[in-house]
Symmetry: C2
């Protein structure tokens, strides 16, 4: 009966239109106000370059390039026409606004002066020709900005927010018979993170400290007016990343107001049927990416709310937003067949599990659904409203059985997925997260999957996060630590200041967008080592 009702709801939500009833009509104004009131103040820090560097083409370096320090940033009093091109190293990754001051040294400018400023996170990004453009996303994500000055002796600020460590300034044209200097430059770095308040154990090994530091820097840079995906690229809060950021935040900045802000952002601007959009922009005015709907990201929002409640004890918020959480599982259940199988084709939609070409999402999505039901039921339990979701325990049971039946290859000891019985790490991790296997089976599934060369591996730190988590769930503590040190530590050893959106230890040029300079090298979903290190000190900090 309930299921029939759910199916009806599903049809209504899928055939979403402007004339549909707004299910949260009575709440939106309040939620928007709460989102507005929890907008954080950004901490501002003025930073300056720490070194002048030269690019060195080096096949042994990550993406073929590295920078070598050639001197202190003592160019401020020198005629810039003689410098012409200079690359500055700011010492670490920063996000914010760049300003520079020009000063006439001799004679008088009698023509405009033009500069090209190239800001980049990585040496490879800085030194790879961008045009003709081959990237799969907007060319304008690249942070090369041309500025024409018609006057000297003034401060100029580049309008767009930038995210970078390195800056190349190139003089494209100026007045002849005249000398000027860039006699000052500064970068106003912004972040809402605040201070890390969760220290590591004194005897934590250096390699873990390094990973934790880079992890923390990644999260700090992504903490702006919302938990952003990447401060260089994407400037928005994705629900899936928010979940991981909120976990890492617990073991670092503990800025739970920002989690609350983001939870309300999603709730206030949901689709009229209450389904959440996959990502929210927080500036200059709040808006979702209308039309972008990602089923697993709807569900993971419920986990973020649950974790927020556990972190803060803020029952008012959890009660206020409970109906949003319930709407997400109810909507997702319209994909679940009578026999308990999650049918990704019930209403064709975007199911994002990981960036990895060819990954089959049938099994992972099934696991994600079970997990969502568990988390939502746990939330209901804490809020004392299990009557609203009383069928969930039975559903979880049924879907768990179906999972084993439909996807678990008992003989090989792994989950397979899709028409070609694909073995992927993601299938194992989500089924383990959903508790479908006991610990021994889970160990076997992970080991078996990792042992086979044909297994579809995670393509990103996002997928790898869930692998580490599954290992810990399976009691594979040494393996979890070794994998984390190998994977995130690999980025550190390759020179990461912040953790990268995409990382394959065997392919430095991997890109989800067909052109690696477009990759975000400071990316929300890559920040979770700090969560594992903080949550499991006995595994990682000794």
């Amino acid at each position: 009966m309930k299921r029939i009702l759910l199916a009806a709801v599903a049809l209504a939500s899928v055939s979403f239109s402007l004339s549909a009833q707004d299910v949260f009509e009575a709440d939106r104004a309040r939620w928007k106000e709460t989102a507005q009131n929890t907008t954080p103040t950004l901490h501002e820090t003025i930073v300056r370059p720490v070194a002048v560097v030269d690019a060195v083409s080096d096949p042994a370096a990550f993406q073929g390039w590295r920078y070598e320090k050639v001197g202190a940033p003592d160019f401020y009093d020198k005629p810039f026409s003689r410098i012409n091109t200079i690359t500055l190293d700011f010492g670490k990754h920063y996000t914010g606004y760049f300003s520079f001051h020009t000063k006439t040294l001799t004679n008088c400018m009698d023509a405009p002066t033009r500069f090209k400023f190239m800001f980049g996170e990585m040496p490879g990004e800085m030194n790879t020709p961008l045009d003709p453009w081959k990237g799969g996303l907007s060319r304008a994500w690249m942070q090369d900005e041309t500025v024409t000055l018609t006057e000297m002796d003034q401060w100029t600020t580049i309008p767009r927010r930038l995210s970078f460590r390195y800056l190349t300034i190139e003089l494209l044209g100026t007045s002849s018979g005249f000398e000027f200097a860039i006699d000052d430059s500064c970068f106003k770095a912004v972040s809402s993170a605040g201070e890390n308040v969760v220290p590591l154990n004194p005897d934590c090994p250096q390699e873990i400290r390094d990973i934790a530091r880079v992890s923390e820097e990644t999260l700090r840079e992504c903490m702006q007016t919302s938990f952003e995906d990447g401060p260089k690229r994407d400037h928005r809060c994705w629900s899936g990343d928010l979940y991981l950021q909120s976990l890492a935040n617990r073991y670092s900045f503990r800025n739970f107001d920002l989690v609350k802000h983001c939870l309300y952002l999603f709730a206030a601007y949901s689709r009229e049927d209450g389904v959440l959009w996959s990502n929210m922009f927080d500036f200059p005015t709040v808006h979702p990416q209308y039309g972008s709907y990602c089923l697993p990201y709807c569900l993971i929002w419920n986990s973020t709310l649950l974790e927020y409640l556990k972190d803060t004890g803020d029952y008012d918020t959890a009660r206020d937003l409970w109906k949003v959480a319930r709407t997400q599982t109810e909507h997702a259940l319209t994909y679940v067949r009578e026999d308990g199988l999650f049918d990704i084709n019930a209403h064709p939609t975007w199911i994002f599990i990981d960036w990895r070409a060819g990954l089959d999402v049938n099994a992972p999505m099934h696991g994600a659904m079970i997990f969502a039901l568990q988390q939502t039921y746990e939330l209901a339990t804490m809020l004392g409203c299990t009557d609203e979701v009383k069928e969930y325990p039975a559903l979880i049971k049924k879907m768990t059985k179906t999972a084993r039946k439909a996807y678990y290859d008992k003989e090989r000891g792994v989950f397979t997925s899709g028409p070609d019985s694909q073995v992927s790490v993601m299938s194992q991790t989500w089924m383990i997260k959903a508790g479908v296997l006991n610990q021994k089976e889970a160990q076997k599934a992970i080991s078996n999957a990792l042992a086979s060369e044909s297994t579809v591996m995670p393509g990103t730190p996002y997928g790898t996060h869930y692998l580490i988590e599954a290992m810990i769930n399976a009691g594979m503590y040494d393996e979890a630590r070794a994998y984390l040190v190998e994977y995130w530590g690999g980025m550190v050893r390759k020179g990461a200041d912040t953790f990268w959106e995409a990382y394959d230890p065997d392919d430095d040029f991997l890109s989800p967008y067909g052109f690696f300079p477009l990759n975000s090298s400071c990316h929300a979903w890559s920040c979770t080592p700090t969560y594992f290190i903080g949550k499991y000190p006995e595994i990682f900090q000794k």
Copy 2:
């Protein structure tokens, strides 16, 4: 005795240093205030494109390119990603500020959008690749501006002032799965010219009307907060151009306050020894091009003051600035030898007569000096202070004799100049302007010079102006008219909206800067047909 004194003054001025006495110390504050108080208000007009055009490569067209109208500017409601690149024709030359508005059509921008805007005066300039840069002046004079938008649905104004007829907008990158339009654009055209108050005779022929119109447009566009050299390039007031502009202004806009403003600009900011800098910038704060000193331009300022007095009867201004005029001739006289020869090597300096490679300036400069003495003495006569320059008539006489002796080849009937006895049009024009020849001799000199293939011809409309004037002085009215119609009319026939900085009927690609797109195609010194047509209606308007 006097000459010895002058020589001493000269040494002081040449060895100019910061410790030198400021000869106008008591006057500068007042002059600056007058310059400030006469800063004109700019008239603003909002204009929009009148057509969409396509570039056509055509060897018969000026500089190899022309535009063909392909439609009305009806792109405002169309998805710009499908247009990608568009060239707009604003119908005529404008100077001012460009703004555009973007509007989201479908979905939501999730990446920055980047445009390249190329503003240009001429089809050839618009369609010639600019990089790698070959121009002799700043690359930044070219009006290609790249703009990155991080938000839609807003107005954006390009900060720099622009001067153009054509605009190509190219989309360099945007969000996918999203459509937007440039749903409005406008150009705030600015000029201080006002209305032309000097109509042509009703029966004035069309070819003269066309030349007068283009002439007037040229002057209008150059009339900003000062009489600018070129609104695209140079954005400043040169003393030599100011003289010609003030003449053209008399027969068009009659905005004499702007002449007064410019006269005071030069006076207030002169070198400490009172010698004028060659050019003044009027924005964002008034300043000369310190270090740029051009002897003939100092002297011609006196003529501008004289013409201003004749135009306005403003004796207060002329009296106030008389000492500046006298300083210019006194300084220039330090170049004149005891035998009355202007010695350009007395103190090496920049003597600009025309942009023409190899032009020898000895004879033209000698003529310019005699003319300056005449004009300054005429000014003194009007002001009743000839006692201050009582030696000028004798000096004029002596220099006139010396001119004939040193430079006039009686046999050939032309002036020659320099060690190679160069025959140039400029030598004839300045000697005729100085009254060195009688009318018959003048006719012969001009005719002889023009008849010889080896004569150094004028390279610009500036030089050509003085040729037309010399022809009129010599009574060669038909020739003057024919030459004006041939030369400036040639630009009109080649599509000029405004008259060009450099024009050689036989070389469409002539450029003083080694790269024709850098040329200014709306240039102060080219605006004088309106002066000739207005002053001599009996020659030109019938």
